[in-house]
């Protein structure tokens, strides 16, 4: 993943470790949209994506003293976000389908009634096709083809073999080509 290098992150992380919530808020403001895009595409649910973003930043705060700075803060945050989404997906897979949407009062199409989406010039057809992919293929596609992670990074993030990551990406592309005609 291409890290957005910024010395400010280091200073903010250091301040946040010392308990400075304003410094942490600055980190949130900087990364929230990126983490939200990842969570939204991986969960396919607006409500779940917001929950996962929230959880990601709370976990990051709780574990800031474990951030060793070997990777960039953004990469570290993405790792937490992916783990959070995977936990959500596992929990969700054990629940009756459609339960979350019913609880949240959300339609099953996360891109359905979002006026911002059109304003932002999103490729809604493609976003919907991605949301319709099987979970394993969607996760790899979102991380590798959209998020810019290498197969090695994607496999490590998802806890799968590199070969699995490649196979799932191939499957995702094939399905998207079919669905987009």
């Amino acid at each position: 993943m291409k890290e957005c290098a910024d010395g400010d992150d280091h200073a903010r992380v250091t301040a946040a470790i010392a308990g400075d919530t304003e410094a942490f808020e600055a980190l949130y403001r900087r990364y929230a949209a990126r983490i939200h895009a990842l969570c939204l595409r991986m969960t396919g649910s607006r409500g779940a994506a917001e929950d996962c973003v929230q959880e990601t930043f709370v976990r990051a705060w709780q574990n800031l003293d474990r951030f060793e700075g070997r990777s960039g803060f953004g990469t570290w945050l993405h790792r937490i976000a992916v783990n959070t989404v995977l936990v959500w997906q596992r929990s969700e897979s054990r629940r009756p389908s459609g339960h979350l949407a019913a609880v949240d009062g959300e339609s099953t199409d996360p891109w359905g009634a979002d006026p911002h989406a059109v304003d932002a010039g999103l490729d809604l057809e493609l976003e919907r096709a991605i949301a319709s992919l099987p979970e394993g293929a969607r996760n790899v596609l979102v991380l590798h083809a959209v998020g810019g992670f290498s197969h090695e990074e994607t496999a490590a993030l998802l806890g799968v073999a590199i070969g699995t990551s490649k196979a799932q990406l191939h499957r995702a592309r094939r399905l998207l080509e079919e669905r987009l005609g």
Binding site: A37, Q54, V58, V87, H116, D123, V146
Partner: protein
């Protein structure tokens, strides 16, 4: 082939143009801020603290699953003669106030547990103890997650995990009940 390559290129192009940032529809910071201020001693994430319990629950479910499968195998996989399944697992569980389970769910759970209590008497003592120990592990995990929720009620993942633990328990109870109905009375063994 060329056409396929062209399609692939077009898809790659569209994927590469997807925005890497999509702002949430609302500002999530106030809730995050409230949660991190509520835990200023920066506790370790509850998920890590009880992660071993998930393995224990998974192991228990698997063990009881093997036990049920063994009963079915011994019984030749035949449907129960004349037996009926008295209770079924509700399709979905709900939260009541303060994360107490909904009344339908509690009633189904209590019914299955009572029924199981009687049927367990038909099992050999060691088998009975194994089943009870494993159910206790699942229930303990649910209690622990519940306790963590008490400290962090807004934690949606904990809520999901609590539901999953209760659903595991109900599934196990229902499966055991079905398996027990296939067993002859103990005095016939």
């Amino acid at each position: 082939m060329t056409e396929h390559n062209e399609e692939s290129r077009r898809l790659e192009d569209r994927l590469s143009r997807l925005p890497g940032e999509i702002a949430p529809a609302r500002d999530l910071w106030p809730q995050i801020d409230a949660r991190i201020r509520a835990g200023e001693d920066r506790p370790r994430t509850p998920a890590r603290r009880y992660s071993w319990r998930h393995f224990a629950v998974a192991a228990s479910v698997a063990l009881i699953g093997v036990f049920v499968a063994a009963l079915n195998y011994r019984d030749g996989g035949q449907p129960p003669a004349g037996g009926t399944v008295a209770h079924t697992v509700p399709a979905a569980s709900t939260f009541g106030p303060g994360h107490v389970l909904g009344s339908d769910y509690q009633a189904a759970r209590a019914g299955l547990a009572d029924d199981l209590e009687q049927r367990l008497q038909a099992l050999p003592p060691e088998t009975r103890q194994t089943v009870l120990d494993n159910l206790a592990t699942i229930r303990h995990a649910a209690d622990e997650i519940n306790a963590a929720l008490g400290k962090d009620p807004a934690n949606v993942l904990l809520q999901h995990q609590l539901l999953a633990a209760y659903q595991d328990e109900l599934t196990v109870l229902a499966n055991l009940q079905r398996a027990m109905e296939r067993l002859p009375p103990r005095n016939e063994i």
